[in-house]
């Protein structure tokens, strides 16, 4: 009773957790550049070892001359499909948010999986459908599948749970394009700081380029947005950053100069990787992928059939077991054996007349 009487504690601003650092994006999807490549490398190695095993089991000696994909080649392939999300979303007139979210999902998915297990073509379709749902722009599955040639509803739906699971069901994404809008609005609080819509559009195209890179897995959305704006209007961005940041940093916060350095890094990455990969470069990767795909997951392969048979056998076993138990219960008299005669109690409950006996 008394616990409710304690006054509301007034928090010191320094001990408070900034909202962004409470997000799953900060907690689970933020990497260092080195960490990122290490994750991909180990993912690749594990997958290659597993697939080599499976190939050997399928046909002994067959894995000797297979050229498996490297981690970099996997990234290249994924980037191609990230770039394909843009025309797909334009086709359905999805808003920017769906596009950006789907791209984030695809990137995150391939930090937990490899293209040799799950081809990005199907995962991409699922990621867009899932992003449309999680950003409240949903579209019916039939309409969606009909809008993409050669796609059936089950192609999209089969992978949906896998994708959601790989994302850890963490669907909320902090986007750089929203941060850019915010910074562009906030510029109006600076004296003479208004930028026209053309400059905004130019910065937005830089944001779109940044989505083809890994920057969102390394930096915060506000840093990416500032970097993109800075590419369009360096002086104004500098002025705005100076109004928000202190000249002296600490362990947990960067100084103004350090942020400028971070922005420079982001811009370098965007310039280097901000264009979709050429189809020619990817074609070879895709051709080789067909040879080194995990046979467990290719319909019709020996291993796939073996796995199916195994699953089928297990299901059959389960069915038999169930039938057996049902049969047992149905045997004999459905009403069971007769009960022993009950002993007469103190009160005769069957006596419902009013006579005094």
């Amino acid at each position: 009773m008394n616990s409710a009487a304690t006054p509301v504690p007034s928090h010191d601003i320094s001990t408070k957790i900034p909202l962004y650092e409470a997000s799953t994006q900060f907690k689970h999807w933020r990497h260092s550049p080195e960490g990122l490549s290490r994750v991909r490398q180990s993912q690749n190695e594990v997958a290659v070892a597993a697939i080599r095993n499976n190939l050997e089991a399928n046909e002994p000696g067959s894995s000797a001359d297979v050229a498996f994909l490297t981690a970099d080649e996997e990234v290249l392939l994924v980037r191609l499909y990230i770039a394909k999300i843009t025309p797909l979303c334009a086709n359905f007139r999805f808003p920017e948010e769906v596009e950006a979210t789907a791209m984030t999902y695809l990137k995150r998915f391939y930090l937990k999986n490899t293209v040799m297990d799950w081809h990005p073509k199907n995962v991409m379709l699922t990621a867009v459908f899932l992003a449309a749902k999680t950003t409240n722009n949903l579209i019916s599955l039939e309409v969606y599948a009909k809008g993409i040639p050669g796609t059936m509803p089950h192609n999209v739906l089969d992978l949906e749970f896998l994708v959601a699971q790989s994302l850890g069901f963490e669907f909320a994404v902090w986007h750089a394009h929203r941060a850019l809008w915010g910074i562009w609005l906030d510029l109006q609080n600076l004296p003479g700081g208004t930028l026209d819509s053309a400059a905004y559009d130019a910065a937005m195209s830089e944001i779109r380029a940044s989505r083809l890179t890994d920057v969102e897995l390394i930096y915060t959305p506000s840093q990416i947005a500032l970097a993109c704006l800075s590419l369009v209007s360096p002086a104004l961005s500098q002025q705005w950053a100076a109004s928000k940041l202190t000249p002296n940093g600490s362990e947990t916060s960067l100084s103004l100069a350090a942020v400028q350095g971070v922005i420079g890094d982001i811009q370098k990455i965007i310039k280097a990787n901000g264009a979709p990969p050429s189809v020619e470069a990817v074609r070879d990767v895709d051709r080789r992928l067909r040879l080194c795909q995990n046979p467990e997951k290719i319909v019709g392969s020996k291993l796939y059939l073996a796995k199916q048979a195994e699953a089928e056998r297990k299901a059959e076993e389960k069915r038999n077991k169930k039938a057996e138990s049902v049969r047992k219960t149905m045997e004999g008299d459905p009403f069971g054996s007769t009960l022993p005669p009950s002993k007469p109690g103190l009160v005769d409950y069957d006596d419902d007349d009013d006579d005094e006996d």
Binding site: S32, L180, N189, S222, L226, G249, L346, V347
Partner: protein
Amino acid sequence: MQAWVTDVGAGGTCDLGLSLACESCIDRLFTLGPAGCPIPGCGKNLRKLAFTPQTFEDLGVEKEVAVRRRIAREFNKRREEFRDLRSYNDYLEEVEDITFNLINDIDLPNTEARIQRNRAENTASIELNNQREELYAQSLKEQEDADRREREHRADELRREEETERAEREKGKREIIDKLETSHKDAFKVVAKSRASALKRASARTTSTQTQSNAKLLRSRAAQSTIVPDVPHVPFTDNYSAYEDKFSLKVGGYSDFMSEAVRKDREGIMRGGGYKVEEAWERAIRCGVASLDLPPLSESIDVDILMNPA
């Protein structure tokens, strides 16, 4: 058919839910004083006094009502007896605790002791409040009586008015006929003149009868209840900072081509669900300043995070 149950009062309670069909059954079993419960396995000592007619189908409800009636007699402090709202609320909570314990048979000896203690400490106040309660009930009853009399009186009045009106109308008609018989004037003029005088009489009547509405009564009753000041309720406090120190919204709004369609939407179709462009702006700007100074991960920390994902 009304059943008689033991679940509520003094004189013992059957835990197995004994219920008897009529009073003669009770007489038959308990006429010689306390006797064991006839349900085998219960055997509790019960008295005739323990049985009350069952009002609710659910015995749990029956019991709760009885417990609440009892508790309301014991714990009847009022808001005015407390310094502030919080201590009053604490008191109410304690009462509810005791009630809950009694209803659900939790820690009965202790609970009864609490009730005893309360009675010992507050005998005077309980008595006083009970008297007040009675007085209030009485005054309420008087008020209701007065209201009812007032209504009856008004209905009488109306009936009488109608009668006099009808009588006057009859009289007017007869007058017109008389005049038409006896005078030599123009028939139309005679009718018009008598109609005018009838109208005058009717309007005089309506202004004289002052109908008192009972709205005045309601107002006076509302004024009796005093206004209790209450501290503002803080619904939710957390330990997150939403970067309030990093930005302030521009007064008068932004010039923003992105949200033009929403702001120019005169019928408010787009804002139907409660959309406010200011909130969208605030969210965007918050996102724009969020963790702008966050250092990118360095190698040593990253290993940690990878080792313990989530």
